[in-house]
Symmetry: D2
Subunit: 399 residues, 4 copies
């Protein structure tokens, strides 16, 4: 086996590269989760996450994966038999439906081709048709990690308002938060779902819910069974900076540092950086003569780019070659795009030269894997980066 | 405010002191949870945890607190209305009942005085009386972290066998595993529940279930709602060294190192060390003229010692003085022993001189807090430690 | 072999326990020693060391051990044949003489019994006798690490002034700086010599010189051969925040953090803490019926305590037992006190409970090594610590 | 000021990128430099460095920069007035001469144009002319870090043998060791000089000498003044795994891990990797239409590539732009090539994609700095890397 040297290129769309500062902040003695030093940490990260979610409402932090935070969103607000409207944007939407079904919700799943954001027009039609307001929640995936397509949550809010439907708006922004503009309060989101290992630049192990007043009221009235995920108990303990059960102290220590880094860079700059890298990546893909998985020019993800290989070429074989020859992990195609798509993560703790190393690895890998393509992708990406201006990208990236 | 120097003494019974080797093992770049390097890690920690639990059955690892692993034990095996037998050994037994009730189980809660292990004689009586086998599970806390009393799981198994009752035996060994002898298979445990931040010497953030074949069969037949905690999906993914949702990679990297350290020391030696430190601590308490919370000489915990202050003296005030003057965190008294009990953790990554620093801090703190006591505790503990032989302790510690 | 668990007790008088914050600060990517980020670091540590030495004069930082900084002090200011006055306070004074002789200096070595500070009365006599001012430098060891005896540099300055002798005053404060009051400028020191691995709480690898204007003038005039140690070249580069050869970047990163910690605690508090720990240690030794190596009540070191074993008992055998049984490193007796003395370091990143663990280890070790002694040392130390007042110590410690 | 995100590209030819494993190995509690655990470390690193230098002779490890190791080489073997033969290969040869002159050696400095290795033909002529064997040492720089030109030490050995001249052969392989083939014994080197912060992948702070039996004999006979650098005392202590003064413990802990990594990769593979990256870099430079500083096709350094900018373009301005825009540090031109040359380090812990990020940064920087150049450098480098074969490089790299 080849022994690799130098840094591994972790270019999957999460877990993402964790900054040294964050790893070092976690690499400190753990602490008494009931003592005054912890309370300081608790208050700090709760406030920090409110700033990141852009909310004055409570943020709940779970020792869990992002999947757990999805489950939390549902079990707090919904009961068996409740109808929910979901959109098939990709694998993570499919997984969300799976959870909903396990909790015996009645899922109305709007089909999609995995190459666009959510079909909001169809959402609107179904809401309009739902005169009796049986639909209790509309669930959308902000940044579909399996495809690289963005659905604008604000548009979903607008249509709910337009049709005056009282359903909760629940948004999975697991790979969106910290990479794409996100406004929990201003966009009228009821439940936001996030995880630590994407734009927040942490290892996996924390899940988040941001919750509106309306969602909280629904939760208070909800008799459904829950304990670990119960918002109310967490919120009650959080008032003292503590948690109802032992929190993942060291990940929280890392979270404090990670948000500090995001704020030192400035969230606006963070978002602009992701858009620029996304534009450069698409420029490369276009130059290679390949297709992005996302076909809606307004829906390209700033965080990752799903890339299709020509028919007859296995994306996983390509990924294997890139891993072995160049020590770079690229994201696999999931479920119905397995073998057809690979994903380039350009999310989190990342910069221009890391992107260029990444794209050079892809370009060389295409050659070694004998995938038909034109050269020039790397050059095209450099043209975008030199401009230091996303406007020069072939297509505008989504906010 | 005093700025403390030197190392904080984290002498709560969990989170415990994390070894440098474990913190450093976690302080490495995170990795592709779907790649070959992760699979190696996945297989390694699953096998390691089987060795620690002493089982050939599956171990499930959750990104969660230990509380989550309790919830997992219940939602996989029990359904609303199911009767379970529990024993009030202390606060963690009370919490377990709370979870059970939130999942609408019918809890038969055998009262206890928080100063003994579980009342197994009463358990036996109730099982005998349960001719129709309505009781679906007997739940005991192996090492009650709120009191320092041990309940021997093997005795519970023996009585279940004796009365030929088919109930599942579920054991919370959150603060037992890695500190006290534990034999998941040999003791016939159906579900073992553990967490990372105690004897496993990790930061909090991982929960564990070890499950018998019988428990798995029950789970397969159980129609109850669950997703995140569902054993079967995890076990299915584990066959490839992966997990159904993003695992807490860096905590797993730490887990691999922590088990390596336990095995380098030898689990037998680890257990003997905890017993010796427990004996030395009790010798000190006896010399001070104070009482241990545990009053059963056969039930003293090797992992922590609950200590009572005389009436009229507030244990939390004492703890505050010790924290401020000596930078040592001691465990608070929980729930009904609040203010009456403080807890000394001597669990995990610990040694004789750390214990002596701890006990000296307690002895000086008693003086500064004007708690009536005799001197000589520290000397008595040294006598035990010099012997390097737990047999010299005033009372034998429990296996 | 026993596998030790818990933290090693590193109670030698240097290298001392390095704080996690300092280790983590060093555990960051190294940097371009000619770039702007390094210059910031360079300026920061140079200014920080001026504050620690209490000087407005240049501080020179070498990638070297403290021994190198001694050599630097000599080769910059002295030439073969120059007469220097030194005092045999212990092994480090002997080593200093050794270096001087290797550089062909003419050493006038005032004998000592290794149980007192320097014989300043004799220094004064010899200076008075030196009518022709052949003596070019008086060299004293501030805190003699091999014995635990302090020589007050200010007294040396006063006597030089009193007898109006122009010799340079050179002070080895390797184990003094950061633990004992030190005033390079106010005390009129010409060359101060220090190292990183003592009160500065860093790993070994940095040596320091602080230099007076007078010393600099002497150096400028000195034709002696030198390159690596040459002050002038370093000082010239330091004006730009850089160094003439590659500096030990990561140790400098640690130094910045270590001084930050010292200043957060407050240097006055740091000094008081060391005195209090020294007093508690002596109280223990007195209670055990043992002797401190230092017999001058005004000369006890706040940083370490040399302790004598009764005749017929081998201090290194005792140390071996303590290391094996209790995982504690104590300082060995050096040179003429080999086997007779062991040294307890209570210097650097340290606190009350660490000291109590240390002293308990010594007390238990005395017992296991069958060294005749009374009990009660640990108790006596606790009495001092509870007072939180060095005034209660049996003998006043030296500033 | 721009806040940079992602990893800094440290592409100077030293200090080089330190692997996480090495930083973590250093990030552990420091230890008693006189205890048994240290002795194990001491023996381990001494043996490891013998394997890296390819010698059975002693290796001396100093807490110092590489410059200190140069000084050590001279003061151990030479005395004031001794004649030495040196070759002006670049700035580090100039510095070496500077040290020699400070120690009053009589330097015969063979001029060079900084674009070739040492003029060995001229060395041979001068040795032949030195009938009386006044020349005591021939000093060559193996890999001239200021230019990227290699001088083959074996050729120097051959010519010394050919002309039967007894001068010592002293080789500065500071930026060669661990990156270029090096054979201290087989090539008949008398003194090898190295440092930690280049191919050894450590932070700066350690200097090394490997010494032949002949050099040791010369040193034993040498009456010159020295103490810190004295080989004999170090070698004597090393027999017990210790050092005469406090060693830089944590850097040694890192060294043990770094050599482990080099040996896991295999030194042969390490050398081949450096050659391949050098070839790819030269391919890029050629494509850009720029010149390498080294003009001898047989002398190109595998470790770094000096690159010239066209007249009228300031290399430091270019470097500044690259640092600000792309967070990459490139090496500055030193001394007589200041402003004319920048240096690309491809040494140490490095891989193909890091190189591609580096070269993309250079190519974009050339554009932003308006340096006239052709495109295609990045593409040309990819062609070399895809081949995974240095043979495809435009010119063969030196062993």
């Amino acid at each position: 086996m080849t022994v690799h040297t130098g840094r591994h290129f972790l270019q999957i769309p999460g877990p993402t590269n964790v900054p040294d500062r964050v790893l070092r902040a976690m690499d400190m003695p753990t602490l008494d989760h009931r003592g005054p030093e912890f309370a300081e940490l608790g208050f700090a990260v709760l406030a920090a996450m409110q700033r990141v979610f852009r909310t004055r409402q409570p943020v709940i932090i779970y020792p869990s994966s992002g999947t757990g935070a999805w489950e939390a969103a549902m079990v707090n607000t919904l009961s068996p038999g409740d109808k929910v409207l979901m959109c098939e944007t990709g694998q993570f939407a499919v997984l969300w439906r799976g959870i909903a079904e396990k909790f015996k919700l009645d899922v109305d799943f709007i089909p999609g081709d995995w190459r666009h954001g959510a079909d909001l027009a169809e959402v609107e039609r179904r809401l309009v048709a739902d005169k009796q307001h049986k639909i209790k929640a509309v669930c959308v995936v902000h940044n579909e990690t399996s495809t690289g397509c963005v659905t604008p949550p604000l548009e979903a809010r607008k249509l709910l308002d337009r049709v005056k439907h009282p359903a909760l708006l629940m948004v999975d922004t697991i790979s969106g938060l910290g990479s794409l503009v996100y406004e929990h309060d201003a966009w009228g989101i009821d439940v936001s779902v996030a995880g630590s290992q994407k734009g927040l630049m942490l290892p996996p192990g924390l899940g988040f819910n941001a919750v509106s007043e309306k969602a909280l009221a629904v939760a208070r009235a909800n008799q459904g069974m829950r304990s670990y995920w119960d918002w109310q108990e967490v919120i009650a303990f959080n008032k003292a900076g503590t948690f109802p059960y032992t929190p993942a102290c060291n990940l929280l220590m890392g979270l404090r540092e990670a948000v500090k880094m995001l704020e030192e860079e400035g969230l606006e700059n963070v978002f602009a950086r992701h858009k620029r890298h996304s534009a450069a990546t698409r420029a490369a893909i276009k130059a290679w003569g390949l297709e992005t998985q996302c076909v809606d020019p307004n829906a390209h993800s700033p965080a990752l780019t799903g890339t299709r290989l020509p028919d007859g070429h296995d994306a996983d074989n390509f990924r294997k070659i890139v891993l072995e020859k160049f020590d770079m992990s690229l994201g696999t195609g999931l479920n119905k795009v397995k073998g057809k798509v690979f994903r380039i993560g350009h999310i989190g703790h990342f910069n221009d030269l890391m992107l260029m190393g990444t794209l050079a690895g892809v370009e060389m890998g295409l050659d070694l894997a004998k995938v038909p393509h034109r050269g020039g992708g790397v050059l095209a990406a450099m043209e975008v980066l030199k401009g230091h201006d996303a406007a020069q990208a072939p297509e505008a990236a989504v906010a």
